[in-house]
Amino acid sequence: MEREQDPLAEKEPTETDEATFRTVGLLDERPPAGPHSAARRPWSARRIPAALTALIIAVAAGTLLFDVIRVRTGQAAAGWRIRLADELAARPLDDPALQIGAAVIAIIGLWLIILALSPGLRHQLPLETPDAKMRAVLDREAAELKLRDAAMRVPGVSAAKVRFFQHRIKARADVRFRAPLDVKADLSAALQEALDRLALARPPSLDVRVRPRHR
């Protein structure tokens, strides 16, 4: 998994840092804000799914352990355990309830695998940073607000809605005066300029649509 290589990649610069450090403050040397600095997307630690999975496993194994020990010390097995054993031994595989359960289990399993392999943090957009030891993200909401404000400054636009997706930005604007095509050209230019100013590490492409709203 690509994830495994990260800790090593992160550790390697310790020796050189001590040497380069002294020049940082004095010369104000600026490594170019190249793609190396910010191209990597931040990966979520997946704490909430991990905590939920751990909780479910702990509760299930702990409950079963408790009842096994209770039976070993000479008491009767709990009702749920007897029922569970009976159901497991009685229901054939083509029982609809069992099939629905199996489908749900398979879907949850697939979902966990997807969670494990995907970066997550889709609402955080990586930014270009002034040095390689610094990483920065911008909230998706903030980027949408910035672009919406830029759209609202274009003459003729009465309302605008901007949404960021993984590789695409959808901008929708209502035009109240001026020719829609002119407004669209101005809007595209204004949005592109605003997008460039955000300095995103991987700017999505713009998809601008306008619709006339004459009143």
């Binding site: 380069t20 054993a85 595989l93 069992l98 489908a103 399993g109 610094m134 609202m152």
Partner: protein, 200 residues
């Protein structure tokens, strides 16, 4: 942080594979796919025919009379429970670098900068930058590899690029000078929501 992410992802993937595999095996047996697609499952493969059950009484009690069975069951369940509790608690812990040495290669003996102090200083420093409305900072990582986390709320007219440049040239360089290391930093920029307004 990164190690925790790697551990979480490996364990989540394992749990996912187990669940997906179990689900698919039950479905394959239930819809009789082995016979329909004339596949031959390997010897001893469970759950192959629609009338099979998940766990027959004979299978469940096969080793129940052996002396080692119940101790083994109890040991395995106890280990699984403990590992799951450890995994759960690991999600709630944060790593802290603790104290950081100050003052350069010949470290000033006995002088230590507490991580909270450095975080507060970074945040207070960042708050004065143009375009920054609010800033919070905390330290993460180990004492040998500390990392600064800075959360910044921008003013509505600020641009991220210049703010990041100012953040690096000011507060971050000062923090790096005072700890004498190239402190890695992560910045999270937000913007307070505001209503659209028409420029006339």
């Amino acid at each position: 942080m990164r190690r925790k992410s790697a551990v979480n992802r490996v364990l989540l993937a394992l749990a996912g594979i187990v669940l997906l595999g179990t689900g698919l095996m039950i479905l394959a047996g239930g819809f009789d796919l082995y016979r329909r697609w004339s596949l031959t499952p390997p010897d001893g493969w469970p759950l192959t025919a629609p009338h099979d059950v998940l766990l027959a009484d004979a299978d469940r009690t096969r080793w129940a009379d052996e002396g080692w069975w119940w101790p083994a069951v109890i040991a395995v369940l106890a280990i699984v429970t403990l590992l799951a509790v450890w995994w759960l608690l690991a999600q709630m812990r944060r790593t802290h670098p603790g104290g950081l040495s100050v003052g350069g290669a010949p470290a000033v003996d006995g002088v230590e900068l507490r991580e909270g102090a450095l975080g507060d200083a970074l945040a207070a420093d960042a708050r004065h930058l143009p375009g920054v409305h609010q800033a919070r900072a905390r330290m993460d990582g180990s004492s040998s590899h500390p990392e600064a986390h800075i959360a910044i709320t921008l003013t509505p007219d600020a641009e991220p690029g210049p703010v990041l440049q100012a953040l690096r040239d000011g507060p971050l360089v000062r923090a790096r000078q005072s700890t004498d290391r190239t402190l890695p930093a992560r910045a999270h920029l937000r913007l307070t929501p505001h209503k659209p307004h028409r420029a006339e």
